[in-house]
């Protein structure tokens, strides 16, 4: 499709590819992780060619996720730095949830919810990675005690639960806020979308004549 010049670049191509790599890894990790977590979900292992393949693939996907997420951090950390506005925005979270715009402060490129997802994952992914390494039996079991591994699996599953909950939040928010999916698939949003959800960001772009994702220097 042709892109209207009226539209703004919400996410660069690199960021989008990076995001979907991360997302893909995350989904696979969730499916395989849940399969190993609860017997009722073990059938999910069939998606990976059986339990052995799943067990072998999970940590490699995890390693890829870590690298991929590092890329996202490099690209997005600046825009996710917390600001005073975030507190105000959070204070108005009821209105946000009710789709009401009035009384909700203007938001930059990312709102506090998005920042929460970003930083939550930035914390959980390395925790999952490190605890995952400890329990990656094939290569790393000799370097830790079994007791440390026991703690690691517990922490790993707690962290995974956290990540899954954050991910549900993230996915639902994308579905709920129309236009967000397109922002991550095609990369563009309308100016109206930006006005509605990231007004400060729109103002900054507009002020510098940038078409996104970042204002011109």
């Amino acid at each position: 499709m042709t892109r209207s010049p009226d539209r703004l670049v919400r996410n660069s191509t690199t960021a989008r590819l990076n995001h979907w790599l991360t997302g893909g890894c995350f989904v696979l990790l969730t499916l395989s992780g849940l399969a190993m977590f609860h017997p009722m979900l073990f059938f999910l292992s069939e998606l990976f060619g059986g339990g052995q393949w799943m067990r072998a693939a999970h940590p490699w996907i995890g390693a890829l996720l870590l690298l991929s997420y590092l890329g996202l951090i490099v690209q997005c950390w600046r825009d996710n730095l917390p600001s005073r506005d975030d507190i105000v925005w959070l204070g108005a979270i009821n209105r946000v949830l009710a789709n009401e715009e009035d009384g909700v402060p203007e938001v930059g490129r990312f709102n506090a919810g998005q920042k929460f997802v970003f930083w939550a994952m930035a914390l959980l992914v390395p925790v999952l990675f490190v605890t995952g390494l400890v329990t990656w039996d094939v290569y790393f079991s000799p370097y830790t005690t079994i007791e440390q591994q026991r703690i690691a699996v517990l922490v790993h599953s707690l962290a995974a639960l956290g990540a899954i909950l954050v991910w549900i939040l993230h996915v639902y928010a994308a579905i709920w806020v129309r236009g967000s999916v397109q922002a991550m698939t095609q990369g563009y949003v309308t100016r109206g979308w930006a006005w509605r959800h990231h007004r400060k960001w729109l103002r900054a772009l507009t002020a510098t004549g940038s078409s996104g994702p970042r204002p011109k220097a």
Partner: protein, 195 residues
């Protein structure tokens, strides 16, 4: 937390809500738990005696096949003989590993000769080896046999060739070895009783 299986089941039931996908046709694999097949079921049993120490434990050797014409009996398992009054089925670490002696990669398979000054073995036929050896033995006996000692007494001995006899060989082997060697007048003749 200490749960028995039933409690475990009930608690796990709480997770049912999340597993409605089961209904979509992803049912768990059927509950199969077969122990390994009993590997001796129709093997041929042969009674024998452990060849290591002098306890003389009874053993049972299990071999492949039923002694039919077209099968080579290969021993694949050895266990203690429970009827034996001394070992009553038990075996020591050596006896329990007898199979690895029978099947040792270092078993000799062919007659060989190492020539004087050589650094290697050369495979030969039994007949060639025996012919050569017997010539050497007879020549040595004929040359060095002592019929009478210095005092003229009849001594009829052959002391230039000797033999060490196996202490793990059977009585029958020991008997024929003694009979054959002594008939030649051999005196340098001993076994492993001492070491």
């Amino acid at each position: 937390m200490h749960m028995n299986r039933r409690q475990f089941f009930r608690v796990s039931g709480a997770g049912l809500a999340a597993s409605s996908l089961v209904a979509l046709g992803f049912s768990p694999t059927p509950a199969l738990a077969e122990t390994r097949n009993f590997k001796l079921a129709r093997a041929t049993e042969t009674r024998n005696t452990c060849p290591y120490c002098s306890v003389g434990c009874g053993i049972i050797m299990y071999s492949l096949g039923d002694k039919a014409k077209n099968v080579t009996a290969d021993i694949f398992h050895i266990e203690g003989d429970p009827d034996h009054p001394v070992n009553r089925g038990t075996l020591c670490p050596k006896g329990a590993g007898l199979l690895d002696f029978v099947q040792s990669p270092n078993r000799l398979k062919y007659p060989e000769i190492r020539e004087p000054g050589s650094t290697e073995w050369k495979r030969v036929s039994w007949n060639d080896a025996m012919t050569r050896l017997v010539k050497l033995m007879k020549a040595d006996r004929d040359a060095n046999f002592i019929a009478n000692n210095a005092e003229g007494k009849v001594v009829n001995r052959w002391t230039s060739t000797g033999m060490l006899c196996a202490s793990a060989s059977s009585n029958e082997t020991g008997y024929i070895t003694h009979k054959a060697m002594r008939s030649m007048g051999m005196l340098v003749f001993d076994n492993q009783a001492r070491v």
